[in-house]
């Protein structure tokens, strides 16, 4: 039996968080901070301890692309947020298309599908608080379309010859009017209280006005009305508020023995730009016995500059000269999130909403569990 000892050192605690990465294998992939895993240590849930250990660092924050690190949280929690971002946050998208005329070469069902995938924007308060879900009624039952659950759009375009085009013009977009049908051709028809929420800047409109919907030639026309409803990504990907929402674990690179001179340059080339830096060995380091730098003053040595940019390609592990000199790993509790919104929400608001949604889920189920136990 191991001798009893005072708690783990900071170094040991840090090492526990590292997933080892070897040429062909990975080690220590699962979290071990559960009560009873380490004898004599307390790993039970404690909100204050979580609060002190939990950190968020922003890398960039644009409406269409946010990146930040969640540090000190388990994969199951980070993954819950990621899954909610993709599948559980509601957005407004075209759900029904009523086609009165479509003589373009795009088939009705393909056209309807294309329309459904166009991301729309509008007043945030109106989208989040005013609009509600719509439940499709059973056949024969009165329709339940209201201003708070349906947004009406229309698309009416006809392709005609452009009389002003020059004789030898070959570009169809100049030769004809409406040769290309774009998302900006879609018109919004506010009903009832929608006028209050979605007017001016806040009107319902495509996020990208230049999305190509169809191509036409003179004599062809598209005439249709559309109903938008709120939905979630688990029902159809068109409702997903994100283009991508993903995370990766923070890479770690530990140089255990000096890598010098030509080797250092080769080592740096094993990684993406900016991960490994080259520095001169200082006099102080060279004078230090047992450092491995003796007699190498002024030579270049490899240093880890920015491990976050590493893609963990493991290239450095394939070369004999680095054998035993470097250790690769990933931090198991450091998630580098990347959220790219489709434009209906801001990317950072999306993450906040995913946290709200998880809390909501738990609150509803807590009530249900209490109800069940009764």
């Amino acid at each position: 039996m191991a001798p009893s000892r005072a708690g783990p050192t900071a170094e040991e605690l840090d090492q526990r968080k590292i997933v080892g990465i070897n040429p062909e294998t990975v080690t220590d992939t699962t979290n071990t901070d559960f009560p009873g895993h380490y004898p004599g240590e307390d790993h039970s849930w404690d909100l204050e301890r979580f609060r002190n250990g939990f950190q968020i660092e922003f890398h960039h924050n644009d409406p269409f692309d946010a990146s930040f690190s969640l540090i000190g949280v388990d994969a199951s929690i980070a993954n819950a947020f990621r899954r909610i971002l993709i599948a559980d946050i509601p957005t407004l998208a075209i759900e029904s298309v009523f086609i009165t005329d479509n003589t373009s070469v795009i088939q009705d069902e393909v056209l309807a599908h294309r329309l459904g995938l166009i991301p729309f924007k509008g007043n945030q308060d109106g989208l989040k608080n005013f609009l509600r879900f719509w439940k499709k009624p059973e056949p024969g039952v009165e329709p339940t379309l209201y201003d708070f659950n349906t947004v009406m759009l229309s698309l009416n375009v006809e392709c005609t010859h452009n009389p002003k085009a020059s004789e030898d013009e070959e570009d169809p977009t100049k030769l004809y009017n409406h040769a290309h049908v774009y998302a900006k051709d879609i018109q919004f028809h506010p009903v009832g209280r929608q006028k209050k929420y979605f007017s001016g800047e806040g009107a319902i409109a495509p996020v990208h006005p230049d999305i190509l919907i169809a191509k036409m030639r003179p004599g062809q026309a598209i005439e249709l009305t559309m109903h938008m409803h709120k939905g979630v990504g688990s029902d159809h990907a068109k409702f997903s508020p994100v283009a991508t929402a993903s995370y990766r674990l923070m890479p770690t690179i530990t140089i255990t023995q000096p890598i010098l001179g030509k080797d250092a340059e080769k080592f740096a080339k094993c990684f993406p730009k900016g991960v490994i830096g080259l520095e001169k060995v200082s006099r102080k380091e060279a004078a230090q016995k047992g450092s491995g730098y003796e007699g190498h003053e002024g030579e270049l040595k490899a240093v880890v500059k920015d491990p976050m940019r590493d893609t963990v390609s493991r290239e450095c592990l394939r070369h004999a000269e680095f054998q035993g000199k470097v250790r690769l790993g990933r931090r198991r509790d450091h998630f580098i999130f990347s959220i790219e919104s489709t434009g209906q929400w801001n990317s950072d608001d999306l993450f906040l909403e995913s946290v709200v949604k998880l809390k909501e889920k738990c609150a509803k189920l807590e009530k249900q569990v209490i109800n069940m136990a009764r």
């Binding site: 379309l145 026309a221 809390k359």
Partner: protein, 161 residues
């Protein structure tokens, strides 16, 4: 090709049951929706389904104890839940020192069901452990929201400076 002289009016001509109808305006937004009052009334739709919908959501019981459970060892079945909640809940319940065992499973991918198994030591029950887990998760969410908001505001201030 058919004549297209009628196209312009198509929107107005769409059958009325296809049109979204406004519900009855309340006193406070009367001003804003006055202009539509005549349109709205045409449909004769008076019902206000807002409240009904909300209640309906709450009524369905989505959690039950599976047969064969004892107070300290129980399996729970969650309807309409998946890995999102399952794994997060499993983690937080496992952090409870009174819990001997916790695991979740989705027995079949085409059934929207998620099972959670909890076994506790003497002194507490599986139901209590489950309730504590759900409460702890909510507290965790609050901390994440707080820290995220602070970090974001600090970042945007730093960027603006």
């Amino acid at each position: 090709m058919a004549p297209r002289s009628t196209r312009k009016k198509a929107v107005e001509e769409a059958p009325m049951e296809e049109e979204p109808t406004s519900h009855q305006p309340t006193a406070e937004d009367e001003d804003a929706s006055m202009a539509d009052a005549d349109v709205d009334q045409e449909d004769g739709e008076e019902a206000n389904p807002e409240d009904e919908e909300e209640e309906e959501d709450e009524e369905v019981q989505r959690v039950r104890i599976l047969p064969g459970s004892t107070p300290t060892a129980a399996s729970f079945e969650f309807l309409e839940e998946g890995h999102t909640l399952g794994n997060a809940l499993r983690y937080i319940v496992m952090q409870n020192p009174d819990v001997e065992f916790c695991a979740y499973a989705i027995p079949h991918p085409s059934e929207a069901k998620m099972n959670v198994r909890i076994q506790t030591y003497e002194g507490t029950t599986a139901i209590q452990a489950l309730e504590k887990g759900l409460r702890d998760l909510q507290e965790l969410c609050d901390v994440v929201t707080d820290k995220f908001t602070v970090a974001r505001d600090e970042f945007s201030n730093r960027m603006a400076a």
